[in-house]
C-alpha cells in the first residue's frame, strides 16, 4: 500500500515497523507499572519530606505520561513525525495555559476578595 512514501510524515502508531514491535509494548508496560507503583508508594510514605511529595508525584506522573507517549502511542521527535510532534507541543501549550492560567487567576481573585462579613454588611 505505502511501500514507497513511508519516509514522509507519519501519524502516531502508524509506522509499519515500530507498531509491529511487541518488545516495545512490553518495555513500556514495565516502565509504566514501576512508575505507577512508585506513585502510590510516594503518596503514602513518610520517608520523603512531606512538602516534597506533590513535586515527586508530579515528576512521576509526567515521566509516566512520557512513557505512554513514546512506547504506546509511538510519538517521537524523528524528522518524519514533525506534524505529530508539533501538534502535541501545541496541545501541551494549550493545556498548560488553561490549567495554570485558571489556577493563577482564581488564586489571585480569591486573595483580593473582600472578606465575606464585610461583603454581607455592604449588601444591607
Amino acid at each position: 500500500m505505502d511501500s514507497h512514501g513511508d519516509a514522509r510524515a507519519q501519524a502516531p502508531g502508524a509506522e509499519p515497523g515500530a507498531h509491529g514491535n511487541l518488545a516495545k509494548y512490553l518495555t513500556g508496560f514495565g516502565f509504566a507499572v514501576v512508575l505507577t507503583l512508585a506513585s502510590f508508594w510516594a503518596a503514602g510514605t513518610h520517608l520523603v519530606w512531606a512538602p516534597g511529595v506533590p513535586v515527586l508525584l508530579a515528576a512521576l506522573a509526567i515521566a509516566q505520561m512520557g512513557v505512554h507517549l513514546v512506547y504506546f502511542l509511538n510519538v517521537s521527535s524523528a524528522p518524519d513525525q514533525t506534524n505529530n510532534f508539533l501538534a502535541l507541543a501545541f496541545g501541551i501549550f494549550v493545556v498548560g495555559l488553561v490549567v495554570f492560567g485558571s489556577m493563577i487567576i482564581m488564586a489571585n481573585l480569591n486573595a483580593n476578595m473582600m472578606p465575606m462579613e464585610q461583603l454581607m454588611q455592604m449588601q444591607r
Partner: protein, 210 residues
C-alpha cells in the same frame, strides 16, 4: 525537457530528497491517524479544562467531606491496574490485527473489554457508595468538580467499550480490510490516550487529595 527537470524527477531521488510539492498525497492511513491524533489532542484540552476546574475547587468542600475522608487508595490502585493492563492488551489486539491474526485479535480484544468493564464497574460502585454516603455531586463544589472530571473519563471509557464491540463485530463481518485495520489503530490510540488522562486523574485527584 531540460537537464534540471531530469535531475529533479522524483524517481531519481531518495525518498527524503523528494520536494514536498512532488510527493503526491500522503497515504490514507497516515492522514486518518493524523486527523485522529488532532481529535485526541482536542479531547485532552477538554480534560484540561475539567482538571483546571478541579484544581480551583478541590478545597471548596462547604463543610462536607474532603477527598482524604472519601477516597480508597486500594480501589484506585486496582482501577489503575485494570486500565493499564487493558492498554497493553489493546496494543496487542492492534498488533494482531495488523498481522491479520484473527484468533489473537479476538482474544486480546476480549481481554481489553473485560479489563475496561472491570474498571467501569469499580468506578460505578465507588460513585454509588459516595452518593449513598450523601457525598453526591450536589454536596459541595469539590464533589461537583470531582464527579465531572472522573465521570467524563468514565464516560469516555464506556464509549470506548462500545467502540471496541463494534470493531470486533466489523472484524467478523468485514474481515481485515485496510479500512478496518485503520479503525482499530485509531481505537488503540484512543484507548492509550484515556490511560494517559487516567494518570493525571489518579495523581491529582486520588493521590494528591489532602
Amino acid at each position: 525537457m531540460s537537464a534540471l527537470d531530469v535531475t529533479d524527477a522524483p524517481e531519481l531521488l531518495r525518498d527524503d530528497e523528494v520536494p514536498l510539492s512532488r510527493r503526491g498525497p500522503a497515504a490514507t492511513r497516515d492522514v486518518v491517524a493524523f486527523g485522529f491524533w488532532l481529535f485526541l489532542l482536542s479531547d485532552i484540552v477538554i480534560f484540561a479544562t475539567l482538571f483546571a476546574g478541579y484544581a480551583v475547587l478541590s478545597g471548596q468542600t462547604a463543610g462536607g467531606p474532603t477527598g482524604v475522608q472519601l477516597f480508597d487508595r486500594g480501589r484506585v490502585l486496582l482501577e489503575t491496574a485494570c486500565l493499564l493492563t487493558s492498554s497493553l492488551t489493546c496494543g496487542l489486539c492492534a498488533l494482531s490485527c495488523v498481522r491479520r491474526n484473527t484468533a489473537a485479535t479476538y482474544l486480546w480484544g476480549a481481554v481489553t473489554f473485560l479489563l475496561g468493564a472491570s474498571f467501569i464497574a469499580l468506578e460505578f460502585s465507588e460513585f454509588a457508595r459516595l452518593i449513598a454516603q450523601g457525598a453526591g455531586p450536589t454536596r459541595s463544589a469539590f464533589l461537583s468538580a470531582f464527579f465531572s472530571l472522573v465521570g467524563t473519563h468514565g464516560l469516555h471509557v464506556t464509549l470506548g467499550l462500545g467502540w471496541l464491540m463494534v470493531m470486533m463485530a466489523q472484524v467478523t463481518t468485514l474481515g481485515f480490510r485496510p479500512m478496518i485495520i485503520r479503525r482499530l489503530l485509531c481505537f488503540s490510540l484512543f484507548w492509550h490516550t484515556l490511560d494517559i488522562v487516567w494518570i493525571g486523574v489518579f495523581t491529582i485527584v486520588y493521590l494528591g487529595a489532602r
